[in-house]
Amino acid sequence: MMGYRVVKRQEPLNWGSFFIFLVALVLSLSLSGAMLAVQGKPFLKGLYLLWDGGFGQLYALEDTLLKTIPIFLCALGVAVCFRMQIWNIGAEGQFALGAVGATWAVLTFPAAPAWVLIPLMLVCGAVAGGLWALVPALLRLRLGMNEIITTLMFNYIGILLLQYMVYGPWKDPASFGFPMTPMFPVAAVFAPVVGRIHWGIVLCAVVAVALWFFLYRTRLGFELLAGGENPRAARYARMPYNFLVVFVLVLCGALAGWAGVLETSTTLGRLQSNVMAGYGFTAIVVAWLARLRIPTIAVFSFLLAGLRVGVENLQLELQVPAAFGGIIEGLILLTVLAGQFFVWFTLQPRSKGED
């Protein structure tokens, strides 16, 4: 373009990732700020409220951490899939199934003590989410069906399934017709650990360590990392590629399922439609930004969670519609994609006399 020629780099830029994110963030916030102005909202005040709402006070930080938990879990799963170049966008549906699975456990054994119920919820949530991801995995392996559309359709179906249960068989008779299950017993709620932060954060830490251990200390984990990077070399080195495809999808389903379990149990204390908050899509943004570097996933999960909480604050203070968050997230992803160009390519000025 113009007086420059695009040249592929000899080696991809290493430190680029965080710098690109910063530039992307600035760009996205500016453009989103413009959106605020369009609706007649004050631009700078809006940005301040965004920051303050997400990170400004202890209460906000707690809120942000609470939202980080489901995003983090989903993002880990999605990042693992992306590493194998499996475009799993079904985290939303897998989240929903996890919530359904946990609710089933609670409603079936309402009188069970916490030390039985909590693990049972986790198991059921993981199984439900995992199965929900298994179907697209098998469809891809056996029939070559593109996982993007199948996982996406399963999102819709999963969410509708949740709605069906909540409007129908599981509806609380005492809820005046509102679609929600009865309140969960105390035994089914994850207790707080610090302030309002519940045990889910411990679960996150455990999962993070376990995943790290799996990826860097086991042979299968190594095969996942190496094989996902280069499927041709994986074939050459006789890696269990097909098995890994199923494995990553089911793992993501289980993790997203756990996110669903936690949200149902702690944020709402019962199952209702609005447990779905789009964490599955935010997880995609995080996974793309952070790749499969676990600490980076944590950081970006935290940042994007803060963004959500900040947007809620904007909603409250300036009556900005909640969809504003979607605008920011979409813009961040687009600008990051564009920015990653510079990791792989550089611009060289065209020399005189060269056409």
């Binding site: 042979r219 280069n230 050459y236």
Partner: protein
Amino acid sequence: MTEQKPLNKRTARDRYTHLPPVVRLEGISKSFGRVRANHDITLDIRPGMIKALLGENGAGKSTLMSILSGRFPQDSGTIYIDGAPVRFTSPADALTAGIGMVYQHFMLVESMTVAENVMLGQRGGFLLSPRRMEETVARLAEKYGLEISPSAPVSGLSMGEKQRVEILKLLYRDSRVLIFDEPTAVLTPSETEQLFEALWRMADQGKSIVFISHKLQEVLSVADEIAILRRGEIVDEFHESDVPNQKVLANRMVGRDVVLSVDAPPVAVCEKVLEIEGLGGDGLDDIRLALCRGEIVAVAGVAGNGQKELVEVVCGLRRPAAGRVEILGRPWNAFYPHPPRRGRSLAYIPEDRQGLATCKYLDLVDNFLLTTRHAFSRRGLLDRAQAEDVTRRIVQEYNVQPGHVDAPARALSGGNLQKLVIGREFFREPAIIVAENPTQGLDISATEEVWNRLLEARSGAGILLITSELNEALQLADRIAVMYRGRFVDVFPRTDEKKVEAIGLMMAGVQPE
């Protein structure tokens, strides 16, 4: 040696023998990094003449023609068309000037018809009439004797027919010089006949044809003039009146340089590590080979004659369609898909070291672990620390530069990457080593290092060396098998001087007597 008098069926050649050249290449030089692909080449291309460019792989033929067809510019030298100097910035420029190339890998839109492909990109009206397009193409094809159905989708065509579409594209654009890059590599014998007839007809109508090849028989059949390239320079030129016989051509084409001399006692008792009998299918034709521990068998031949398929079968990436393959005494089905990991294993050193043998963004330890991972795992857990130590040791032992094991494989030059791959594969103490063009793209010193390693490994394993570098085969092999069109033309010990003399011919498919 049976020498066939080539049948040149041209009728109108005499009309053109005294015309001035259409294209003159003067002093053309081109280097890629340190590799000198073309050096000070001067060549004339005359109308109505078929000129063959002969030479081994890497001699510089394709580079020269890529420059002429506008794919990339020369470093120095000038191209003259009709006496006037020109500069091409793209293949489109060259096409406008009347120079077109028919590539080995066709640039056709598979889902479109022949007529659509021929007319693609040409200026014209807004509307298209398939019928009219097909009529135009049919007329053109008839004029040059090219048999093709204009309404056929390209995806269903044979290679010969696809080639005809490429030719028609050039003819439709009134190209005066048509360059063919190894055109018969993908053709059956009868399609080759048809191509030659078409070439003669085009030449008789005044077109200039340039024909890149390494196949002596065909060159002698079809060409009016022959130019031989070796290591980027023109070493010989023959015109229609003074073309020599095949043997002379073969020798001039191949040449020979001795870099190492090897002292290798032949194997006394053969412990068979690989046995192939009657292997067929996938383009392979009744392959028979027995490889013993302690010997190197080189499979020599021009790339694309079935070597890839043979390697894939031996290394377990392709099921043998017919025949018997036994690896370390076990049939193929039993050996794969769970081959022994260490000790009695098969090591494969592929040609594509960047894309297949390694992962370029992973570090050296991860790349080392790629095929040795089982040696460092116990009950599913991977001992990366141990692997790191071993990698460090191997890196040092094999002199892989740079020596930090946490650098990505991308940072390594070709030669060092190859040494890493070799170090990795030898670590597994294999009983068979399959090495595919192991020194391709390497400089002299790296080549020597690799050769020495292979010779060292010889004592403990049987090595199958696939190479298109004749010299490499001659340096390393105990026995040489020459491969052509999916079969072994002959298998003989390196000490058989007479047969070694005839290797060039065998690689071109000529059966020795």
